[in-house]
C-alpha cells in the first residue's frame, strides 16, 4: 500500500468544535481499524487536547492524518493554536497543573493515552501538540 496519507482538518473555535474533533478522531480510529479500547483512548486524548487548544490557546485547529503506508495504520493528530504559549512545559505536563477548568490532566493524560507525544511551544507565538497511535493486532508473532 503506497497511498498518500489522508488528512482532514477541524477548526477549533468553540465548544461544539471539541465535539467535532471527537467525532473526527473516532472516524479516523475506526478507519484505521483500531480496537474499541484504542478508539476510546484516541478520542479521549483528542478531547483533552482540543479543549486545551480552545481554553488555553484561544482556539486553533486539529489536523488528523491516517498513515496507511506501513502494515500498521497510524493515526496522527496535530493540534495547533496561536495562543500565549506555555512558559514552563515541564510544569504544564505535570498532573494537577491547571490554569483553567478540568483536573489538569489534559497534557499529561493525552501523553499517557497516545503511543507518541510531541509538544512544541513558543511563548507569545502558540503551541503545537502532536500525538499518534498505531493499530495493534491482538494476534501476532
Amino acid at each position: 500500500m503506497t497511498r498518500t496519507p489522508s488528512t482532514s482538518t477541524v477548526a477549533i473555535h468553540d465548544e461544539y468544535d471539541i465535539v467535532h474533533v471527537r467525532h473526527a478522531a473516532r472516524e479516523a480510529a475506526t478507519t484505521a481499524g483500531f480496537s474499541l479500547v484504542q478508539q476510546t483512548k484516541l478520542v479521549t486524548a483528542a478531547s483533552e487536547l482540543a479543549r486545551n487548544a480552545l481554553v488555553h490557546g484561544g482556539g486553533g485547529q486539529a489536523d488528523i492524518t491516517i498513515d496507511n503506508l506501513r502494515a500498521n495504520a497510524t493515526v496522527r493528530m496535530t493540534f495547533t493554536d496561536k495562543g500565549p504559549g506555555i512558559p514552563d512545559i515541564e510544569a504544564a505536563m505535570a498532573d494537577g497543573f491547571t490554569t483553567g477548568s478540568g483536573l489538569g490532566l489534559g497534557l499529561g493524560g493525552a501523553r499517557r493515552l497516545a503511543d507518541q507525544f510531541r509538544l512544541e511551544s513558543t511563548p507569545g507565538r502558540g503551541t503545537v501538540v502532536e500525538i499518534s497511535m498505531s493499530v495493534r493486532r491482538s494476534a501476532g508473532p
Binding site: 473516532r26 476510546t40 478520542v43 479543549r51 477548568s101 493524560g109
Partner: protein, 125 residues
C-alpha cells in the same frame, strides 16, 4: 444538545444522559441537579452514563464533583453503566475517581440507594 432530564423516583433522582454533552451543558447539568436534590429532598442520585462512548477529564471531574456536592446535602450519588473501554481509558488518564459509587445497572444502583432499614423491612441486598 438540550438539557439532561432528571426524574424523581421515590426520593432518588434518576438521570439518564442521552447524548454527548457540551462542556456548557455539563456545567448546567451540575447546577440543575444540585438544585433538584434540595427541592426533592432526594436521598440519592443515579446517573446513567451507559450511552457515552467517551468520558474525558472534564466530564469525569464533574461526576466526581456532583458526588461530593450531593454528599454534603445528605444524598448519595451512584454512577451507572460505565462502558469497559471508558473505564480503562479513565484509569490510564489518571482518573480513578476514588470515592465515586458505581453500579453496573440501574437496578443495582437503585438497590444501593434503597431507604435505610427499619421502615418496611430490612433489605440488605
Amino acid at each position: 444538545m438540550a438539557g439532561v432530564p432528571i426524574v424523581n423516583l421515590n426520593g432518588v433522582l434518576l438521570v439518564t444522559i442521552q447524548e454527548e454533552l457540551l462542556d456548557q451543558s455539563v456545567a448546567e447539568f451540575e447546577s440543575d441537579l444540585t438544585e433538584k436534590v434540595v427541592e426533592a429532598r432526594a436521598r440519592g442520585v443515579l446517573i446513567d452514563v451507559s450511552v457515552l462512548d467517551v468520558i474525558d477529564s472534564f466530564l469525569a471531574r464533574t461526576l466526581h464533583d456532583i458526588a461530593a456536592i450531593t454528599s454534603l446535602m445528605a444524598a448519595r450519588t451512584v454512577v451507572v453503566g460505565m462502558r469497559p473501554a471508558v473505564a480503562i481509558t479513565l484509569v490510564e488518564l489518571g482518573l480513578t475517581l476514588p470515592g465515586l459509587l458505581t453500579a453496573l445497572s440501574v437496578e443495582e444502583g437503585l438497590s444501593l440507594l434503597a431507604p435505610p432499614a427499619g421502615h418496611a423491612r430490612t433489605a440488605l441486598r
